[in-house]
Symmetry: C2
Subunit: 364 residues, 2 copies
């Protein structure tokens, strides 16, 4: 790792030159409240050494997005966005992560997944589906210094596999208990290996465990625990109570608590209100996230046919008003209004905002 | 036309009932500054009587959007968004507009386009490609009353046609002078016909002429003149000086004025700055609109490959900063950041705003 990293203080485009190195560092610019600045090296974004591995290991893109943004959210609990700068993982290379994600064998001694098991015995599933590293830096005079890393481990709730290359896909369910136990053991190995790297000897290492949603899920998985570690073995696990749901709830689904029931009713009222606006509106669905049983945010998608620009404009206005009236206050919500091919308009209320903003995508 | 239209004053969902009719009217909700409220009838958006005709007559979707939003912009010059309510056109039916758009013949006496011409003589092109009506209402006690209409006439700069049903497509260019002259004559006929409708006898009628862009254009056409009429013939035409351009300019394009040259340089600097951020960024293009030779707005599209959520987040932040630094101030600009299939993030500065806002599309 370069020891002379220069970061010009929050200055975009203004480049500083190290006396001993030709590397130039800047950041992505003054960040919005609650988001990290990222590191730019020689005018290029400093991408992850294991770039693309997480995405290529997931058939459900909801898992990819929720794993990555969920990991950032856990980092925010430990590394304040005000004092830390985000850097894509630089210590785990692509081949390292790929080996770790493999099954352990003579040719892959670092594999974190178990041997397949005997042909006539029980099959051992692939537990660990993805690993992602994030680095958190601080300015230190003119240098940029690593002050902590976060590693997310994505665990399968269902392991999908093929018996022959072009054969059908089979699936093996993994119980929550088995997944958690296997994940915690893997975390122990990971932290030991990380501590062997010189640069990672003394920084806090956050490890977080994520339960992947099944491939047919319309919402990604969730992180269920994390630990902040200063030593070379995992300390206390902090439990996270995060659940994702799809709304409106299927009519035969059982209610888990009365709060969720109210949210579903609110959303159904919103949906009915806007579905009556146009004939032939295709769909209104939402991803809802709960923290400790309370709704913490929603991503809503409204699928339309191709409407005229004035229709889209009126519809967007109507949706903003309906959202303000029917949807829960005090949480971030975004609403995409789109045809099968294009986003037509967009309504959102960020965290901390009281009113919805909207934008209609126009063209000259 | 119903004479007892009830509009509850800006109240969303609150429905008023006419004593003589069962129609219930509300509006789409309190509108953002500079946009119209629309009319909702019995809980449904009051769609145009000629809904879909404009879209189905255009192979270039940029023309569709720019025709519709350009027409709304002209209406705003005459009917203030503060005192008028927008209603989709209710006086020209689908069949009426379709007949008007046809060639005049024994079976279609109202056709506004000329006969094709003799087989061996010169072909008369189809001049008029689209017609769209917008209604502008005011509250009058408990009633909603028509106070003016706007009619846009879309004229071909190139007429595309086939000699046989499945044969190749031919094109015939139409000069600006011929297009304008034909459009003005058609406008005379249109206003005469509109005045024959009882409801349209005494309201101001705005007629606006639009020059369609060719089918291969990456930007739509523009309105070039309009007139506000109280009588039954077209009065004075007011010239509009609006042009659309695609940036960056092709290297062999000739400069039209030095202002455009500066805008192109600004955009090229912005483009270079953000293209260096990632390897393999596919494209950065813009639609730019000029009014009276001055840049009045931009729609920018940044095409990316599939990036991770943290990469998109950093990239969006970087783009916001670069936009603030390189792009002209004081005009509305929006920037779509998208893969070939999905919008990943969005950066924009609305009219009157000083700073760019951004949103990254996330998933649970």
């Amino acid at each position: 790792m370069a020891c002379a990293m220069i970061l010009s203080s929050c200055s975009f485009g203004g480049k500083s030159k190290s006396s001993s190195k030709s590397d130039n560092y800047t950041t992505t610019g003054s960040a919005a409240s609650g988001t990290y600045q990222g590191v730019i090296e020689n005018g290029r974004y400093k991408t992850s050494k294991a770039r693309g591995v997480t995405a290529s290991n997931n058939d459900n893109t909801f898992n990819v997005k929720s794993f990555e943004s969920g990991l950032t959210n856990i980092s925010k609990k430990v590394f304040s966005t005000k004092s830390y700068i985000f850097q894509e993982g630089q210590y785990l290379s692509k081949s390292t992560v790929e080996n770790w994600l493999g099954r352990v064998s003579k040719s892959n001694k670092t594999g974190l997944n178990p041997k397949k098991g005997k042909t006539n015995g029980t099959r051992n599933p692939v537990y660990i589906q993805s690993i992602e590293e994030q680095d958190y830096m601080k300015q230190n005079g003119n240098d940029l210094k690593l002050h902590g890393i976060t590693v997310g481990i994505g665990l399968n709730s269902v392991d999908y596999y093929k018996k022959t290359t072009n054969g059908p896909t089979y699936s093996q369910n993994i119980s929550d208990a088995a997944m958690k136990s296997y994940g915690q053991q893997a975390a122990q190995k990971v932290i030991k290996r990380l501590r062997q790297k010189k640069a990672l000897k003394n920084v806090p290492i956050v490890i977080a465990l994520y339960k992947q949603a099944s491939d047919d899920s319309l919402v990604g998985g969730t992180f269920f625990e994390y630990s902040v570690n200063n030593g070379s073995s995992v300390g206390t696990w902090k439990k996270l109570n995060i659940t994702n749901k799809v709304l409106p709830k299927a009519s035969d689904a059982t209610s888990t608590n009365s709060g969720n029931e109210t949210d579903n009713t609110d959303f159904t009222n919103f949906k009915s209100q806007i579905q009556s606006f146009f004939p032939n509106l295709s769909g209104v669905t939402a991803q809802a996230q709960y923290e400790n049983g309370t709704l913490s945010g929603m991503h809503i998608t409204v699928t339309t046919q191709f409407y005229s620009e004035t229709e889209i404009s009126s519809f967007t206005q109507y949706i903003s008003t309906a959202a303000q009236k029917y949807l829960p206050s005090g949480i971030p919500i975004d609403i995409k209004i789109q045809t099968s091919t294009d986003m037509q308009a967009f309504v959102y209320r960020d965290s901390g905002q009281k009113k919805f903003s909207s934008h209609v995508f126009d063209s000259y």
